[in-house]
């Protein structure tokens, strides 16, 4: 048989021994239970800040409901009260006009801290205080009641311990789920920039940061190349490293010298991104506007994720470099034919879809074979480099030049009609004419010249092959007429038709 005390304890245990999401939920259950058992008018729960001797009121339970509260009470000047509370675990108040009892409760909570760069996971004692009030009928607390309340306080302590452990486990679980999701997002994005955008947005969403930024640096970590960010509105921002303020640039040294940095009362985190000795950049997360602290657990999890992120960015950069090498001709630094064909097909599709103009120039260096024979292949290569350099510097960003093979080069000019392409061809011709071959033995300076054939979409053709063929035929006409010039297919079409394909091949 249970005695009355055991039965009350059992009843209370059954009531509060559940799985609670957090401390608040537990207190919302425990405080009303206490209120009803002891016919209390009010029950309070305080956090005990021992080092400052301050009781911080967190929750009040009255009549039918509980409410979050916020009030600090210093007990630094009440040594007798403090002594009694700490020694006996209970103390009756001295300055209220009605019976009120303070009960000390202690429990262990899982804590993660960073000390000298190392993560320490341990249990820390937490202290709380319950205050039970009876102000309506001024009924004092009997010794038996005080005894029972102390036991119930211990039960609350036990449940607070379990709840905090559960909460920490859930938190870790949700963080690892979040990081797993983020890794999946990253792995599934085809373009690095898209992937990074998704990652930053994901980090902001999962961890509730005000802002997230990724600073990409050169491999020495001495210069910020670009910054990708997500602001508090969820908008993606992108900035070049040159436009940053000096203070932001100065951060570099500090970031790379430490493994990670907490700032401004843990409202800001900097995480360096490094792969062995290669510096990739750094991540910043901040809650500067909301002033919410960033927990150690979040910090540590993000630190682990940053390592993975650095590796992925570094790999992606290497991949981009390899792609660059395979798409560009090493000698002229111009795109190769395969890359050009892809872009050309895309551009023709766009021109058809939106009714845009498009032109194509095919050119070659006049008497290139003779240059090679006379001056050697080194000078021939030099001529190719010089011409391609002029091409690269004379075109718009949207134009796509390409080394088609040998000394033959092709330029695609999106949104350009035949008249506009003539302007470009003339410009190239004039600039290349100024180039003199570097031959010390030559008596007179030997200038380079080029011949160019132009075709335009849709008047001269609507497919890539048609346009290439027509531009090639126009080039043939130029060559027939002495080289060093350009021609638009439409304007020389009649002359082309008079020439057989065999003749054209011969001329080439």
């Amino acid at each position: 048989m249970f005695d009355k005390k055991s039965y009350t304890l059992y009843k209370f245990h059954k009531q509060i021994n559940q799985s609670f999401q957090d401390r608040r939920e537990l207190l919302e259950c425990a405080l009303p239970a206490l209120r009803d058992m002891f016919r209390l008018d009010r029950v309070y729960f305080f956090d005990w800040q021992q080092e400052r001797a301050i009781l911080s009121l967190r929750m009040m339970c009255k009549k039918e409901y509980c409410m979050d509260m916020q009030e600090d009470i210093s007990v630094a000047n009440e040594p007798a009260f403090l002594r009694q509370l700490l020694q006996k675990g209970v103390a009756e108040t001295t300055d209220l006009s009605y019976p009120a009892l303070y009960v000390l409760i202690r429990w262990l909570r899982p804590t993660v801290e960073l000390k000298s760069g190392e993560v320490h996971s341990f249990m820390r004692e937490k202290v709380g205080v319950l205050r039970l009030e009876r102000f309506r009928k001024n009924r004092v607390f009997t010794d038996a009641e005080i005894d029972l309340i102390k036991d119930l306080g211990a039960e609350i302590s036990h449940n607070l311990h379990n709840t905090e452990i559960d909460q920490a486990k859930n938190q870790r679980l949700s963080i690892s789920t979040a990081l797993n999701d983020l890794s999946t997002i990253f792995a599934s994005s085809l373009r690095l920039n898209d992937g990074l955008e998704l990652i930053l947005k994901g980090i902001q969403r999962y961890f509730h940061f005000d802002r997230v930024h990724l600073y990409l640096t050169n491999s020495e970590g001495t210069r910020i190349k670009s910054v990708l960010g997500v602001d508090i509105s969820g908008n993606v921002t992108q900035e070049s490293g040159d436009s940053l303020r000096d203070e932001e640039k100065q951060i570099l040294k500090e970031v790379f010298e430490s493994s990670a940095t907490y700032r401004a009362k843990r409202s800001v985190i900097y995480l360096p991104l490094k792969v062995q000795r290669t510096k990739v950049g750094f991540l910043t997360f901040d809650n500067i506007l909301s002033r919410r602290k960033i927990g150690y657990l979040d910090f540590i999890s993000l630190q682990q994720f940053a390592t993975q992120m650095a590796l992925t960015i570094d790999n992606a950069r290497l991949f981009e470099r390899v792609q660059e090498l395979s798409n560009y001709d090493e000698l002229t630094k111009l795109p190769v034919r395969r890359y050009f064909n892809e872009k050309f097909a895309e551009e023709i599709y766009r021109a058809k879809r939106f009714g845009l103009s498009l032109s194509l120039i095919i050119m070659d260096i006049d008497w290139f074979k003779q240059i090679n024979d006379k001056h050697g292949h080194q000078i021939g290569d030099w001529a190719l480099k010089a011409v391609s350099k002029i091409i690269r510097s004379s075109l718009r960003q949207t134009d796509v030049p390409c080394r088609f093979g040998g000394d033959e080069m092709v330029i695609m000019l999106p949104r350009t009609n035949s008249e506009e392409s003539k302007v470009i061809a003339r410009r190239l011709q004039e600039r290349i004419c100024d180039v003199v071959l570097p031959d010390r033995n030559a008596l007179e300076p030997e200038h380079l010249s080029i011949s160019q054939g132009i075709s335009s979409f849709p008047s001269d053709g609507t497919t890539a092959n048609e346009l290439l063929e027509k531009a090639d035929q126009a080039l043939y006409v130029v060559k027939q007429h002495g080289r060093g010039n350009f021609a638009v297919y439409r304007e020389v079409a009649e002359q082309v038709q008079q020439t057989s394909p065999e003749e054209q091949k011969e001329e080439k």
């Binding site: 009040m60 009030e71 902001q204 005000d210 508090i232 500067i288």
Partner: protein, 399 residues
């Protein structure tokens, strides 16, 4: 529909909202309304997670201090009420409250006025009679207030736990909101006129804060002591209080006690009061926007404005209810004089953050005062650092 509200009337909040919701439900029986009460602190943290909710329960309608509007628009958590109901108007709203409803620089309404309060000085006539022949005159200036405090201390010093001033701060600590009139009465503000820099580090701001802190330093006002048990006007353990609450029910609860109300004593050339508005906003993720808007309009109705303002002892936000409210009690007449001197915190993205920073700074001062290690030099140093922090915020968020 779920409402997140603040404790408008302390421990009575749930009862007051229950009454209001019952009236709403009488007219809209099909709408379920659940009320959750959160302190400003908790709400501040929670509004930042509204966009990507982690709580099982998502609020539809949320009560906020009106100067948070710009921030919530920026964070993308507040619904554009003008889009939700193009007919929604602020025509009848009191002028000082209008600007705080809009997204800055536009006429798009993102939050709607609910009620407001206004700071004033309350004093026990019987206590003051013993130390001043003309309290209205002596309490016109901050200097006069400190002198009266000293006289009251001498008069009632033998009463255990007596303080001349009651602390009206919710946390029983030092409060920036209570210190604001000292700043404004010097003609000072938080920011320069173009809002590009802060004046928090200025000499005048430091002096203004010092005026307020003197109340705690000289032990004229209890800090970090339990409110309600120490230093209250009603219990006779205090004689004065600077508060935004009208205190009518509290003061009239004690028979025979006469409490008078005056404008907050001027620390500078002119008297200034702090007008603090409360607004509603609808969460962008709400599934009950129509119902939430219905509730907003219900609360803005003159009869509800009058009723709720009486319940929580605040002021109606709309002209139609304000006039009859003021006329309803002779004790409220003084607020007609106070209202034109009222100042509000600007509706800027960073304003809530600035108040958070200053709140922590004052909490630190309070602890130092209690532990007898406060110095003006350390406060000045902290204010200089705070000014730098605010300027950094301004540089990021451009106000």
């Amino acid at each position: 529909m779920i409402l997140w509200v603040m404790p408008d009337s302390g421990a009575k909040t749930m009862e007051d909202y229950a009454t209001l919701v019952a009236l709403f439900k009488k007219e809209n029986p099909s709408v379920d309304v659940t009320v959750r009460v959160f302190t400003r602190n908790v709400l501040w943290r929670r509004v930042f997670t509204l966009k990507d909710p982690t709580h099982e329960e998502m609020p539809d309608l949320i009560q906020i201090p009106h100067y948070w509007t710009a921030l919530l628009v920026k964070a993308g958590v507040a619904e554009n009420l003008s889009q939700l109901d193009p007919g929604l108007s602020l025509t009848d709203c009191l002028v000082p409250l209008k600007e705080h409803c809009y997204q800055p620089g536009t006429k798009d309404i993102y939050s709607y006025p609910w009620w407001f309060d206004l700071s004033a000085l309350h004093y026990r006539a019987d206590h003051l009679k013993l130390v001043s022949a003309r309290p209205e005159e002596d309490l016109k200036t901050w200097h006069g207030l400190l002198q009266i405090c000293q006289a009251l201390r001498e008069q009632f010093g033998n009463i255990p736990g007596y303080y001349p001033m009651q602390n009206s701060d919710w946390r029983g600590s030092l409060s920036m909101r209570s210190a604001l009139p000292c700043m404004w009465s010097r003609g000072l503000n938080f920011f320069t006129e173009d809002r590009a820099a802060t004046l928090v580090g200025s000499k005048e701001f430091k002096e203004a804060l010092h005026d307020y802190i003197t109340l705690a330093l000289k032990e004229y006002m209890p800090i970090l002591r339990e409110r309600g048990s120490l230093g209250t006007i009603v219990s006779g353990k205090a004689s004065m209080m600077i508060s935004r609450k009208q205190g009518i029910s509290m003061f009239s609860a004690k028979r025979g006690m006469r409490v008078c109300t005056l404008p907050v004593p001027a620390a500078g050339d002119q008297s200034a009061a702090y007008l603090s508005g409360m607004n509603w906003f609808i969460s962008t993720l709400s599934q009950h926007k129509k119902e939430a808007l219905m509730f907003i309009k219900f609360c803005a109705r003159p009869d509800m404005q009058l009723r709720y303002s009486h319940m929580i002892e605040a002021f109606p936000a709309f002209e139609e209810a304000f006039e009859p409210f003021i006329s309803s009690s002779p004790r409220l007449q003084v607020y007609k004089e106070i209202l034109p001197t009222a100042h509000t915190l600007p509706n800027m993205i960073i304003m809530g953050t600035v108040m958070e920073i200053l709140k922590r700074l004052l909490a630190m001062c309070a602890a130092q005062i209690v532990e007898h290690r406060f110095t003006q030099a350390s406060l000045d140093r902290e204010l200089d650092m705070t000014a730098k922090e605010i300027e950094y915020l301004l540089s990021i968020y451009k106000g």
